[in-house]
């Protein structure tokens, strides 16, 4: 069975032609893979390497370098809580506990239904709203008990 759907293959090929050099689309292509599969497996990286006509090792070195890419699936909703200096001063420790209790998981673990995972993240560029909360790469302002409880309602 192929790793990607025909639609997904088309998107990946699209990244090879988006910029003046095909390699310039690689990080975006891996971002797409991460979004679809919630991780980048060696099989997926291998197919991306074929599409980009690059050695597997080149693609794998990129896939394993950047924090956005994971080798095991994240939750469908990937939640980040900043523990940078401003957010730590604003009580990120407490909000980490709240996330742990709300989802019943440790950082980087995915709930058994595959819906959620959470992780501490480095500065999210929202230091005036610390501790900053991020859901699927979208900033959500300051993390509060109520806001975290409401995440459970996400589909």
């Amino acid at each position: 069975m192929s790793v990607f759907t025909p639609e997904q293959e088309k998107t990946l090929v699209g990244w090879t032609t988006r910029y003046p050099y095909s390699n310039m689309g690689l990080v975006e292509a891996l971002r797409s893979v991460q979004e679809w599969k919630r991780c980048v497996t060696p099989e997926a990286a291998s197919r991306v390497a074929d599409i980009f006509q690059l050695p597997f090792n080149r693609v794998w070195s990129v896939a394993t370098f950047f924090p956005t890419f994971t080798t095991k699936p994240t939750g469908r909703h990937r939640v980040g809580l900043c523990h940078g200096l401003s957010c730590w001063m604003a009580g990120s420790d407490k909000m980490e506990k709240c996330l742990e209790e709300t989802f019943g998981t440790k950082p980087f673990e995915t709930t058994s239904d595959g819906k959620f995972s959470w992780e501490p993240m480095e500065c999210l560029g929202a230091c005036e709203q610390g501790p900053a909360l991020l859901v699927n790469e979208r900033l959500q302002g300051q993390a509060t008990n109520d806001k975290i409880a409401a995440l459970k309602e996400l589909k």
Partner: protein, 408 residues
């Protein structure tokens, strides 16, 4: 106080083309396109604009290191650095979300000035909301014909702080892991895909429409000597009103803090990080310091990217140094041994001290590790690992001594 890039921030629809144009938007670009390239560069040179992404390098001087088409024919590029990931910095986020057209206009002016037909805007992946706003603004700019002489393409990052360093940014854009390059050659000579490339910060480029419209001299006059115009501080930590504040270059630290409402809850100030957590802190005695690149440097630290964090008297600076070092350890690209290993050692020692398990040698070890990193590594992240903990140690010796057993 004079404002330039945040001047119209009370306009709710500033992000839309119509509003931006009503307020004089794209007049700078129109004017630039009637000037020849050298005249635009000359205007920017007169303005004393300095790079606001961290290094403070004079913008026109950087542009002038780009070899002419006679020396290196073929494409040349402008890359917007919107990776903003230094702890304490969030001004680029606000500038992109509130005034995306101002950035686009500035970028198009820069493209004209250096003769680039293609430009790229690299945004950190965690700014997806802001990316959407930029994409929308770009569609408007395309439809209005502003991108006829130079195209703009968006690209997103993948969560690495080091991607914000210019040469690592270029590696990321080329589809490689973000290992900084060892210059020379500098990006203006051999940048993206080996082509001459100017990398500029969001805020730097956002200043250009004003400079071209009003003239370089008008911009220079707003700032201090050799530091033209304004700077946008993003202020967080123990202040009453955290947020972004634009002030003329050379404004006293005391006045900047007053804009943010001063130290929260009437507490006493312990220190102020002036430009993001890589920059050593300033103290109460520095409150009259006039903040520009050169004055802050003379005071032993850096303006950086204006990410100001205010710490009150309750803060333990050993825990602060540990938080900063933990970040640097996580973000070290691992290419140079002193940075990779030294980061790990520093973090381990600081952690031990916090856990009440400090040893008598720990302070000497922190000093020794630091001394063996700075100047022996490829990039400024490693240099920071070498100096930042030592800066807290020398400014707050009591906090550190408390954490280790005295040798009697």
């Amino acid at each position: 106080m004079t404002k330039i890039v945040t001047k119209h921030f009370d306009e709710p629809k500033l992000h839309e083309l119509e509003t931006y144009r009503r307020l004089g938007g794209y007049q700078g670009l129109a004017k630039a396109l009637t000037m020849d390239r050298a005249a635009v560069v000359a205007e920017v040179e007169k303005s004393n604009l300095r790079g606001l992404g961290g290094a403070g390098f004079p913008t026109a001087a950087k542009w002038k290191t780009l070899p002419g088409e006679d020396k290196i024919p073929g494409p040349r590029y402008v890359v917007v650095n919107a990776d903003e990931s230094e702890p304490g910095c969030f001004k680029d986020r606000v500038l992109m979300a509130r005034a995306p057209h101002q950035l686009i206009e500035g970028l198009l002016i820069a493209a004209h000035a250096i003769g680039a037909k293609e430009t790229f805007l690299f945004v950190r992946g965690e700014y997806q909301n802001q990316y959407d706003i930029l994409e929308q603004a770009l569609a408007e700019a395309d439809a209005a014909g502003y991108t006829k002489h130079a195209s703009i393409k968006l690209m997103r990052g993948a969560g690495a702080y080091i991607s914000g360093l210019d040469t690592a940014l270029l590696e990321t854009m080329e589809g490689k892991k973000a290992w900084p390059r060892q210059p020379p050659p500098f990006p203006t000579v051999a940048g993206l895909m080996g082509k001459p490339t100017v990398v500029n910060n969001v805020e730097t480029l956002s200043m250009l429409p004003f400079i071209v419209r009003e003239g370089g001299e008008a911009f220079a006059k707003i700032g201090s000597a050799k530091n033209g115009g304004t700077v946008v501080f993003s202020i967080s930590g123990h202040v009453e009103k955290p947020g972004v504040y634009e002030v003329p270059m050379g404004t006293a630290l005391r006045d900047v803090l007053a804009l943010a409402g001063g130290v929260r809850g009437g507490k006493k100030l312990k220190c102020v990080i002036p430009g993001g957590t890589s920059m050593p802190p300033l103290l109460e005695k520095d409150l009259d310091l006039k903040l520009d690149f050169d004055a802050i440097r003379a005071a032993g630290t850096f303006l950086g990217a204006g990410g100001m964090i205010v710490l009150d008297e309750t803060v333990d600076t050993v825990a602060v140094a540990h938080n900063i070092q933990r970040f640097l350890t996580h973000e070290s690209c691992g290419q140079c041994t002193p940075c990779r290993e030294g980061s790990y050692w520093n973090e381990e020692i600081l952690e031990r001290m916090l856990d009440e398990k400090g040893t008598a040698e720990d302070l000497a070890n922190l000093t020794r590790v630091g001394e063996n990193i700075t100047g022996k590594v490829i990039c400024a992240l490693g240099d920071t690992v070498g100096v930042v903990t030592r800066a807290y140690m020398s400014k707050f010796p009591d906090d550190f001594k408390k954490r280790v057993p005295s040798n009697g």
